[in-house]
Structure formats: C-alpha cells, structure tokens
Amino acid sequence: MVSDMTMDATLTGHLQELRRGTVVVASLTVLREPGYGYSLLETLSAAGFEVEANTLYPLLRRLEAQGLLTSEWNTDEARPRKFYRTTEQGDAIAAALRGEWARLDRAIGDLDTPAGTESGSDL
C-alpha cells in the first residue's frame, strides 16, 4: 500500500518533470516586449507559471549566452535595470517550441479520448 505522502511526492516529481522547459517557452514569448528580471517573474506567476526567482534569474543569463535573448542596461530611471528582449533567433525557437507544445497537447488529447471513437477500442 502506497501512502498518500508518497503519492504526493510522486505527483510533485512528475509535475516538475512536465513543467521543466515550459519556463523557457514562456520567457521567450513574454520577452518579445522588453522586460527585466523581477517584472518577468511577476508576469509569469500572474499567468500561472510556478517559477522561482533563483531558477529564473540564472536562466535569463543562460538564454542570453545562447543568443536567444539580448540585454541592455536601462539607466533612465532611478533604479538601473537590465532589460532582456527576445532575439529573432529566440523568437524562432520559441515558435518551434510552442508548435511542439500544441502538437503534444493534441496527441495527449487524442490518447485521452473516450473509448468507442478510436479504432483501437475493440482491444
């Protein structure tokens, strides 16, 4: 008998596995409009992405190093902020990732379709 605690831990693990990578798509999509670290964090959590600051900030620098984001220091305001913006390349990659996401969503939906509508239902 598996306890509820273990099931919760199992679910958490699988959810993490499933969500890994979604932050990249979301960030590249959101940053088509320039944004800085904390603003992106707010936008993402308002949109329902459970992302932590200590994952997001290093991730932004990694995406910049890969050429998917560019950054610029904005010193016009009292508090200088580093603004990130999705590059053309980043946008193309984000589009490809969103396409894959939609395909997976359809595929999962098809698998989940109730019996009788699928040819394999007579098994």
Binding site: Y36, G37, Y38, S39, E42, E52, A53, N54, T55, Y57, P58, L59, R61, R62, W73, R79, P80, R81, K82
Partner: protein, 323 residues
C-alpha cells in the same frame, strides 16, 4: 556595516566567475530591491520584506551554481557508465592482483603469518582507496571539463553484446581466463627457480621429472580450454577429460607435499615463523588448496555437463532457478 542583502549578494558572488561578478551583482541587487519594494508596497515592514525576499531566493550557493552553470553533481549520467565500469574493473580485477602480488612477495620474504595478513589488509584499504579516489577525481574533472558521451571512447551497443545464456557456450572472457591461468602458473613455476627469493621456493630436485610434468599438464589444461570452446558443448567426455586433468595435476602435488618433497628445504630454512612450523603449515595449505580446487573443478564441470545433457538451460542471473 554590511546589511543582510550585502551578505547575501557577497555570498553568491563568491562562487561566480570573476568576469561576471559586477554585472550579476548589479542585476541581483536590483531584483532584490524590486522584490522588497513590492512587499513593502503590500504593507510589510522593510526588514521583514528583506528577510522574506532573501529566504525565498534560497541558498546562495545554489543560486551561484545556477549563474555559473555548474552541475550540482560530481559525475553525471554521460560519464557515469564509464566511471562505473572502470571502478568495477579496478576493484574486482586489478586490486585482487595487487593484493595477491603483495602477499606473495611478503610471504616469500621473511614476513611472519601476521605480517602477511596485515600487509594484505593494508594493501586492500590503501590501494582500494587510491583507485576509487583517483578515478573518481579524473571523472569529476572530465565532467566539469564538459566531456560528453560522444567524447568518450565507446563503441555503440549492438545485438552481439547480448549474453547467450546457452549451456555449453564459453564466453571469450571465460576462454581467456581458462588459457591465461595455466600460462601464469607455468611462468610462476619457472620464475620461482630464478627470482622472487634467494633460494628457490619449490624443491629443485623435482626438475628431473615432476616440475616438467606439471608444466606439460598445465599446457594440456590450456589446450583443453581451446578444445572445449571449439567443441561448443559440455558432455560426459568433457567431464571425464576435465576430471582426468584435475587428478593429473592435483594428485602429484598432494603426493609431493605429503612426502615433504614439494618445498625446497633450503628455502624453508630461511623462514622464521615464530612458534609455527613452516613446513607443516605450508604442506597443509598446499594439500587443502590442491584437493579443494580439484574437487570444485570436477564438480562444476560435471554439473554443467549434466545440465547440458538433459537440455536444461543455464540459470539467468537474478532470475528464479530453472528446474
């Protein structure tokens, strides 16, 4: 005075590459200030807001690993299989050989029984620790150097790598061990006459017949291995041939030992085992090893041949015994 935020930021920067530090510091401080302002705007006291923000950011070392893009493990999945194979090989093959050599060298010197056992234990611990440490260190450095699976010398797995699980089939490793063992024994038998010790260990008088005879039997053991792998099947003939070879090699050894003609008296005289009589002990050990080894060998081959004759498959490791 350093504030809580200073201490946090400095702790992160400590483990971040130097050329990135100033940029990361500016950005991190802004992000922290933004988060603190948001909390203060929501009605929190400033100090509480700072504490909550930093707590949420979590372990600064972890954040630094994120910035530096450092793996949070010693040996990753790419190099792990190669590391595991190397460690297994070192500890299961090389270490026993080193220990055996140490024991032989010590025993042939003037060491007492206790000293031999002591040096064996010390060798196992120190050499084993060295092997594990240096190979792990090497692989950890490879991991950090960014070696990928493709960079490792490794041929791709093919269907031919599957074990056969067929009775009677000798794997190449089994065949080689069956050939190399007699060759090593012949080498040891010849070399002990000239090296290792100032006096030969074994009675030189037996070079007139028994030592050449043993070499001949050992050569037959190696030929038997080749014959067996060519034949590709175990049978009663194999049982008989194997048993005959076992008796032909163990019989004379036991007889020579029992009649005190196995060891060189001049070498025995150089031994000083406090209290114990070397001849009596060594004779006992030789007889026990020769008899037990021969019996095990005969029984093992007989069981295999019988299983094969009845068409019983060999048990697959880890599965229920096949009846």
């Amino acid at each position: 005075m350093t504030t809580l935020i200073d201490r946090y930021v400095f702790t992160v920067l400590r483990r971040v590459p130097e050329q990135q530090r100033s940029d990361i510091e500016r950005e991190l401080r802004t992000s922290i200030d933004d988060a603190v302002d948001a909390r203060v705007g929501a009605g929190a006291a400033h100090d509480t807001a700072v504490e909550q923000t930093l707590t949420e950011l979590g372990d600064p070392d972890r954040l630094a690993d994120g910035y530096a893009d450092r793996p949070r493990y010693l040996i990753g999945p790419a190099v792990y299989p190669a590391w595991k194979r190397l460690i297994t090989m070192l500890l299961s093959v090389v270490l026993p050989i080193v220990v055996l050599l140490t024991v032989v060298v010590r025993a042939l010197g003037d060491a007492t029984f206790g000293e031999v056992v002591g040096s064996a234990v010390t060798t196992i611990l120190t050499v084993g620790a060295h092997m594990a440490f240096w190979s792990t260190l090497t692989f950890a450095l490879l991991e950090r150097g960014g070696v990928t699976r493709a960079g490792l010398p490794r041929r791709p797995w093919t269907l031919d790598d599957l074990p056969r699980y067929e009775p009677g089939f000798l794997t190449p490793a089994q065949l080689w061990s069956m050939i190399i063992w007699p060759v090593l024994l012949i080498a040891a038998l010849v070399l002990q006459q000239f090296t290792f010790t100032s006096e030969p260990v074994l009675d030189p008088a037996n070079w007139s017949f028994w030592w050449p005879y043993l070499i001949a039997v050992l050569i037959f053991e190696a030929l038997y291995a080749v014959w067996l792998s060519r034949r590709g099947a175990w049978s009663r003939t194999v049982t008989v041939v194997n048993a005959a070879l076992a008796v032909l090699s163990a019989g004379p050894i036991v007889w020579l030992a029992a009649t005190e003609r196995f060891f060189n008296p001049a070498w025995l005289a150089t031994l000083s085992w406090d209290g114990a009589d070397p001849l009596r002990w060594l004779t006992g050990i030789v007889i026990v090893i020769a008899v037990a080894g021969a019996l095990y060998d005969i029984a093992e081959v007989a069981v295999r041949a019988e299983r094969s004759r009845r068409g019983l498959p060999t048990a697959v490791p880890g599965s229920e015994p096949l009846v």
